[in-house]
Amino acid sequence: MARLVFDAAAALTILFAAVMVVHRHPVKSVLALVVSFFGLAVCYVMLSAPFIAAIQVIVYAGAILVLFLFVLMLLNVGEETREREPWPFQRIFSGVALVVFAGMLLGLLRAHGSAIATPRAALTGEIAPLARLLFSRYLLPFEALSVLLLAALVGAFVLAQRENRP
C-alpha cells in the first residue's frame, strides 16, 4: 500500500516536472511545478520525513512559487513563441546531456536497484532529533547558509536601490 502511494506520487512528480519544462505558457509551467512539488512532498511523507514534506510545501509551493506567479501575472507574460530555429550545436549539446543523464540513472539503478533505502533511525518521524543534528553537527553549514541568504538579501536590496536613484 505504502509502496503503491510512493510510486504514484513519484510518477506524478516526474510527469508534472516534464509538463513544466514542455509547456509554452509560463503560468501553466509554474502550476505544473506546484503539482510536482506536492508529489515530492507526498514522497517525503512516505519516506517517514513529514517535517521535510511540510517545509517543502510551505517554502517552495506556498511562498517561492506564489512569488513567481505574482511576477508573471504582474507582467502579464503570454505564451512563448519560437522566434528562431535552434542552433545546430544546441541539439548536439542536448543529446550529450541526455546520454550523460541516462548513464547516471542507469548507474544509480545498478547500485541501489529499485529498493527504497531504509531511512536513518535518527531522522525518522520526530523533529527533535533533526533539530539536535542541525544545531550540533551541522551548525557551521547551517549558519553559513543563513549568512549566504543574508548576503543575497543585501545584494537584492542594493540592486533595487540603484534603480530608484535619480
Binding site: L31, P50, F51, G62, M73, E126
Partner: protein, 346 residues
Amino acid sequence: MTLLDWLIIALRVLVPLGALIGAAGLMSWVERRGAGLIQDRPGPNRVGPFGLLQPLADAIKFLFKEDIIPSSADKVLYVLAPGIALFSALTTFAVIPYGASLPLAGREIPLIGADVSIGVLYVFALTSLSVYGIVLAGWSSNNKFSLMGGLRSSAQIISYELAMTTAAAGVILSASSFRLTDIVAVQSGTWLGFIPRWNVFPQLLGFVVFFISTFAETNRVPFDLAEADAELVAGYHTEYSSSMKFAMFFMAEYVNMTVASALTVTLFFGGWTLPGFHPHGVLGAVLSILVFTGKTVFFLWLFVWVRWTLPRFRYDQLMRIGWKALLPLALLNLLWVGGLVTLGWI
C-alpha cells in the same frame, strides 16, 4: 481491522467535515443577522424561525442558477480555482483536536482527524496553498478587477504568513512540540490555582499578532483588499456569477474563518480544556466538544463584530502594518517566550 474500525475512521472524518460545512452555512446567517444588529435593522428574518433557514434557501438558489463561464476565461483553471479554495479550507481542520477522547465499544476514540507530529506545520502548509485558489480565480477570469484582487491577495497572504508563523512559533517553543494535542495538553491546569495555564497570558503579544494576521489570511475586513468592493467590484470573484462556484468561494471564506478561530482557541486558549474540568466517559467527551465549540464561537463572533465595525485599510497601510508592526512584534514575542522557557518559568 474490523468493519467497526473502518466505520469509526469514516465517522472521524465525516462528522467534523459535516460540522464544518454546517458551521459555514450557519455563519452566513450569523453574519447577516449580526450586521443587522450592529446597524440597527432586522436582517434576514423571513425564512424559518429567526430566518434560520435562509442559508438553506440560498443554497437551493445557488444550485438552480445558470452557470456562466466567461468566453475569454481559461476554462480549466476557472473551474479548478473555487475547488482549490474550498479544499484547502476544509482539510486544514483535520489536525485540530476538538475534544477529549471518547470511550465507545471498548475503544478510546481520539476526537481529532489525524494526530500528526507536524500538526502546526500542516496547518501552515495548507494555508499557504489556499492562496492559489484566489490567485488562479483572479488570473483565469481574464478581467482586470479580478487580476488586481488576485495580485493583492497573494502579496498580502505571503506578508502576513510570516508574522503569523512567527507568533505561533512562541506557542511551539513553550510546548516544545508541533503536535496540536501536546499543545493542548500543556495548557491544562492553572497558575496560582485560578489563572488557567493558557498560552494567551504569558504570550499576549503573540496572540494579538496571530489573531490580527488571521484576518489578513482569511481576507476579512479590515484586510479584505482582495475583494474591496469599492475599488474592485468584487475582486477575484467578479466573474463568478452567483452560481455554485461563487458559493464555493463564499463557503471557503466561512470555513477559513471557523478554522482560524478553532486554531486560535487551540494555540492560545487551551483548546477543549477548562481549569477544573476533567472529562471522563461519553458525557465528558460531549462536554469537552461543547467547551471547544463555545470558545470557537466567541472568536467567530469577533470576526463578524470587527467586520461591521471597522473600515478597510488602504493597501500601503496594510503592507506597513504587516512588515513594520506585526513582524517585529512577533519577533519580540519569540524573544520573550524564549527567555521565559530558558528561565524555566513556563
